[in-house]
Amino acid sequence: MFMNTLHVDSIIKNIGDRLLLSDIFFTCQTKEIKALFGRNGTGKSTLFKIITGIEHAEQKFIKVNRDIIIDVNTSYKKVNYLPQHHFIPKHLKIRELIHLMCSETTIGKIIIHPIIRESYNKNSYQLSTGERRFIEVMVMIYSNAKFTLLDEPFNALSPIHKEHIQQAINDAAASKGFIITDHDYRSVLNLTQTTMLLTNGVLKQMSDPILLKEGGYL
């Protein structure tokens, strides 16, 4: 299988006078699952939005293999972003969503889940918060992009659904890379090989999750 590489370099982002992100650098490859931790307001979601071209940065250099990412039009086939809030348009049917975002081979893996099978012909506004979130996360995990950035994928989910999500991430990681941030750090640490901590605008690679305590996150 061809190994894709997401290369994130030199990201600088100011909000007002405050330096939110300072010279962020990391890479992610196919089959890698990386965890990104940080206290509230440290810029994790902003970093994800900058990577996918949704948000502007003072400086950035992002590429997937040789293709440079500038905006959503250049990123969407390569890097997808799951926001921490609902994103499916209320009028959209779940089957329309699945067929737009996933390939024929991955659709089968999604619709085996009872929640998704039962919601298949429903509009997203007819679903509960948890059902909607579960579908959003599953669709993103199995989306066609080479890398998926998951912002709080375990939020609002029951323990059994968190397990399904973990299994799906492990399964999909055979062909893509993931970067996950969630304050349910135990669920994330179960999945990841590499941990990163964002603190005071600086990204630190952690060799051991125990260091999260020293970094002031736990």
Binding site: D71, N73, Y76, P83, E96, L100, S143
Partner: protein, 99 residues
């Protein structure tokens, strides 16, 4: 150049705006008819040119603003969608004026 998935996404984006846009355009047309006693395609085009962007704003920026993230996953930025709405409005107005 748009791919097939982007075309389908745009159809889904405008599908829900179509009925309310036509409804309010017709309503404006009726009010205009009751005042002037006449209604033409040009009036329809002018009303449509204002109602479609208003519907775009109300449905996508007020009622369901987080849904933009779905359109981002299909490579359609906010700017792209707003520009498309503007172009559709103006083209509809020009066509109705020419007919």
């Amino acid at each position: 150049m748009l791919n097939w998935n982007q075309v389908k996404t745009l159809v889904l984006f405008y599908k829900r705006m179509l009925i309310p846009t036509f409804f309010f355009t017709a309503l404006i047309g009726l009010s205009s008819y009751s005042i002037t006693g006449a209604y033409s395609l040009v009036q329809f085009g002018i009303a449509f040119m204002f109602v479609l962007p208003l519907m775009h704003y109300f449905l996508n920026e007020v009622l369901d603003h987080t849904a933009y993230y779905f359109y981002f996953t299909q490579g359609l930025s906010k700017l792209y969608l707003r520009t498309a709405t503007g172009i559709i409005s103006i083209v509809t107005m020009i066509i109705s004026a020419c007919l």
